[in-house]
């Protein structure tokens, strides 16, 4: 099917013109993994001092990279990849992922965040809305159980930092998933986490890159 798709695209779209996107499209079809740099990412990368960074990876796709903080408004941070994809985080909790192919559009994760940041066990409800393959928004609700997995040291810039590891297991009508958080001892802050982006790409692993520890 990949071949079929590529052949179709090559035949029907290998156009050039002032619609430069089509060349990009062809390149994307032929070399799906070729890096593309988005102008917004270029602009952000030239900002000094360097904006806060986040190490991210999709274990299911063997993809990894660094995201830069693009903006923060109303308590929501938007982080940008080099090719123009973004995630949003609210207190370290993933609320959207756009441009990766998955359709996590927005989320209400307040109950989960309250438990995890308090390092408390308990149950929470969370809501995710997804843009589906038919360009429609689906709102899904999940029931989650937060459990403490005990203290664990994680390494930030090679230095060990004491953290509490928590796990959140969620069940919805059609899907279930597990998120894991490493929350800093003392000041509650998610230092590292693995959070679900939807069934298309699975979990996203994130780790803060602190300027100072």
């Amino acid at each position: 099917m990949r071949l079929f798709r590529t052949a179709l695209i090559c035949l029907l779209l290998a156009s050039c013109g002032d619609a430069r996107d089509e060349l990009d499209l062809l390149r994307g079809a032929l070399q799906p993994d070729a890096p593309r740099f988005h102008p917004r990412a270029n602009a952000l990368a030239s900002v000094r001092p360097i904006p806060p960074r986040l190490e991210v990876s999709f274990p299911s796709r063997d993809l990894s990279g660094v995201m830069l903080l693009e903006t923060e408004r109303a308590g929501v941070q938007t982080w940008l990849t080099a090719d123009g994809a973004t995630i949003t985080l609210e207190k370290g909790f993933l609320t959207s992922a756009k441009g990766f192919g998955s359709g996590l559009a927005a989320s209400d994760v307040r109950q989960s965040a309250a438990l995890v940041l308090a390092r408390q066990e308990g149950t929470a409800e969370r809501f995710h809305s997804f843009l589906n393959g038919n360009d429609q928004i689906e709102l899904h609700a999940y029931k989650c159980v937060v459990t403490r997995l005990g203290p664990e040291s994680i390494f930030l810039r090679g230095l060990p930092v004491a953290a509490q590891k928590l796990q959140e297991r969620c069940h919805g009508v059609a899907e279930s998933f597990t998120n894991t958080y490493w929350v800093r001892q003392g000041v509650p802050e998610v230092l590292q986490s693995s959070q679900w982006t939807g069934s298309f790409l699975g979990n996203l692993f994130m780790k803060t890159v602190p300027d100072e520890i």
């Binding site: 559009a105 809305s129 038919n134 298309f200």
Partner: protein, 692 residues
């Protein structure tokens, strides 16, 4: 590919597909259905027969099929038989806890009648894994063990079935309903057992005696029992191998597409710019009082919209409201273009601007306008139900009242071009399963002033077999389309179109178009159209008149003698439940009067599957093979295939045969197509992408 649907086993949902490409065992049908909207492509071979079938589950209880069969040596000295047939299959009753599903089917109801049969079939699932089916069939299915028609009890006219019109090619294409459920009947049945989620074993009793094949190609039927094994691949496709009729092997491959599942659900295009805090926007250099020249702000806006793939053509500052017009060259869903434009405005405009009027424009013609309150954007950007809530708060209106001087200086004249390869395909014509042509094409558009555009389209064929057709048109009416083979043979570099076009808005809810020049490959002349289409209406009405002359076969600048006045009145209706209907009534190219009815299933993402037919004053006999014009069409947004934003679409019409009756002019930019994406119904369907 992610397009393969998960065919979860459930009650009377097809687990297996027959050689005929419909839910069934090996040859016999079952009463099962595919999940609603499924497109199933099947190719099956047995002995010297190939059957390629496309089946579409139009409604949860109806599926229809188009089949192209090749039977080697069937026509003796003439050679192979290429047979096209249509099926319809209705589920009369869903499977209950104790009762079976019940379905009624019409196979090959309008073709040459080789496969013509009707059936009533019941299927019952037992403990999830075992499915038993049994039914009664007429026509071809009434072979072995046939008995007199039980429907004869109702009326004696059911007792006899006249000889199917197999072989008489000029009479094909009419509905054969005079023969449906007539003549003798026979029973059929079988079972499928799902050994695992992947492997299903099949056994059936098929009364089909392959009488015609026996006589013509020596097909042997020594047993009515067929046995097969079906394996479901990881992508959902099915492969079936079967031992059939005690003599032959059959092989079957089915591939399924769920049009609702694009390759990447949210798309892989870059994310929208996040909304900046309003105080930061206010402090941007272009908004500061001392440097705030409007020119500088407009420059920033133009550039920022450009980054999102939008062209700013109109800008009017009305105090608290900023009105802009943008041309969307990037997004398949107009709602996404509006959403991107709104965020760019919020990130660039001074705080005093409280709302935005965003007009979607096409070559300078405002199609409609969406008003968005700036505060709503901030409030709903991260809301889980933000897309729907923002639609509820947005106001879609007919258009902006354009003021003098509103068009930006750089907007017009505007020149654009595209250059690239093309593929023109023709499937299943009577002599060849596939005709195609590939080559290079160039398109040039010069919009001199808003609405006024000069366009040219050139094609240079490079390879293909479209021009190999030696088939002479045997049309007895004016040859308005059937000479397509001569056009392909005698042309080289082609001027596909060369036109001057003016589109304008004569009033509220109205659009008008005039086009002059070489309108399409075969015709040139004058064309005029008006369309009434209120912004939030499901209904649109249009009228078009054309005076055209047939172009020379070399598709350059000359004309032939034939000229005709042609035109239609059209009604378009966006039906609830993903359907769209269109009726065009008027005078066709050959001077015949009649009407075309088109029905499409349109998914919100733009994937379309449809069918059409045209009945005109040209009689079935004069029309020739096929009796009247009809066909099916498929339209796939390129973004569905690639996951990246694009306005391109792959469209293919499949006609059993292209002839001269009911032929319509192919003028470009018919108003409904140009305007529809920006009207409220379509905006609502795509609004899920507003925040994307």
């Amino acid at each position: 590919m992610a397009a393969a649907p998960a065919l979860a086993p459930s009650l009377a949902q097809a687990q297996s597909t027959s050689v005929y490409g419909t839910p069934g065992l090996i040859e016999t049908p079952t009463a099962e259905m595919y999940p609603d909207g499924t497109l199933a492509f099947t190719s099956g071979v047995l002995d010297q027969t190939l059957r390629a079938t496309m089946t579409f589950q139009m409604l949860p209880w109806v599926h229809g099929s188009f089949r192209y069969a090749v039977i080697e040596g069937f026509d003796g000295e003439i050679g192979d038989r290429f047979d096209r047939s249509f099926d319809l299959h209705f589920q009369l009753r869903e499977e209950g806890r104790t009762s079976p599903a019940l379905a009624l089917g019409l196979r090959d109801f309008g073709g040459t009648g080789i496969y013509a049969s009707e059936y009533l079939v019941a299927t019952k699932t037992i403990r999830d894994r075992l499915k038993l089916s049994g039914g009664i069939g007429w026509g071809r299915l009434a072979g072995r063990g046939s008995f007199s028609n039980p429907l004869g009890l109702l009326s004696s006219r059911f007792d006899t079935r006249s000889d199917p019109r197999a072989g008489n090619i000029t009479e094909t294409g009419r509905l054969d309903f005079g023969n449906w459920f007539r003549g003798e009947a026979a029973l059929f049945g079988g079972a499928s057992w799902a050994y695992s989620d992947r492997l299903t074993l099949l056994a059936e009793y098929s009364p089909d005696l392959y009488t015609k094949e026996r006589d013509r190609i020596g097909f042997e039927v020594s047993s009515p029992f067929n046995f097969g094994a079906q394996y479901r691949l990881k992508n959902g496709a099915q492969v079936t191998a079967a031992f059939m009729y005690g003599t032959t092997l059959g092989l079957n491959y089915s591939y399924f597409i769920d049009p609702r599942q694009s390759v990447a659900p949210g798309g892989q295009g870059a994310s929208p710019p996040p909304l900046q805090p309003i105080d930061r926007v206010a402090l941007a250099s272009w908004n500061l009082p001392d440097t705030a020249a409007p020119g500088r702000r407009q420059q920033v806006l133009t550039r920022s919209l450009e980054l999102e793939g939008l062209r700013l053509v109109y800008l009017e500052d009305a105090g608290g409201t900023l009105r802009i017009g943008v041309e969307n060259g990037t997004y398949g869903q107009a709602a996404q273009a509006v959403g991107r434009a709104a965020r760019v405005l919020a990130n660039t405009q001074p705080a005093r601007v409280q709302s935005f009027d965003i007009a979607l424009m096409s070559n300078g013609v405002p199609l409609s306008s969406v008003r968005i309150a700036r505060q709503d954007l901030y409030e709903l950007e991260h809301d889980p139900d933000g897309a729907w809530r923002s639609f509820a708060r947005a106001e879609v209106s007919d258009s902006l009242t354009l003021v003098r001087g509103g068009f930006t200086d750089a907007a017009y004249p505007n020149f654009s071009y595209r250059f690239g390869p093309y593929l023109q395909a023709s499937f299943f014509d009577p002599d060849a399963p596939l005709r195609y042509e590939i080559g290079a094409q160039m398109g040039l558009d010069y919009t001199a002033a808003p609405g006024f555009t000069l366009s040219a389209g050139l094609r240079q064929p490079a390879a293909g077999n479209l021009d190999d057709s030696q088939r002479q048109s045997n049309s007895v009416i004016q040859r308005v389309r059937s000479d397509w083979g001569i056009y392909a043979r005698e042309s080289d570099l082609r001027v596909e179109h060369l036109t001057a076009e003016y589109i304008w808005r004569p009033g509220t809810d109205l659009y008008a178009r005039t086009t002059a020049g070489y309108l399409e490959t075969m015709y040139g002349g004058l064309s005029g159209e008006v369309l009434w289409f209120p912004a939030d209406s499901r209904l649109a009405l249009g009228a078009e008149v054309n005076y055209v002359k047939q172009r020379d076969f070399d598709v350059l600048f000359g004309f032939q003698d034939y000229s005709v006045a042609t035109g239609h009145v059209s009604a378009y209706y966006d039906l609830p439940g993903e359907y769209h209907a269109q009726v065009d009534a008027g005078r066709y190219l050959a001077g015949d009067y009649g009407a075309t009815v088109t029905l499409d299933r349109e998914f919100a993402n733009g994937f379309k599957v449809g069918a059409f037919f045209t009945l005109t004053t040209v009689s079935f006999d004069d029309f020739g093979e096929g009796s009247f014009d009809k066909g099916i069409r498929l339209e796939i947004p390129v973004s569905w295939l690639t996951g990246r934003p694009s306005r391109d679409r792959l469209a293919q019409v499949i006609r059993p045969v292209l002839r001269d009756g009911g032929a319509r002019l192919n003028v470009r930019n018919r108003l409904y197509g140009v305007t529809r994406e920006a009207r409220a119904q379509q905006l609502a369907k795509g609004w899920g992408r507003f925040l994307r």
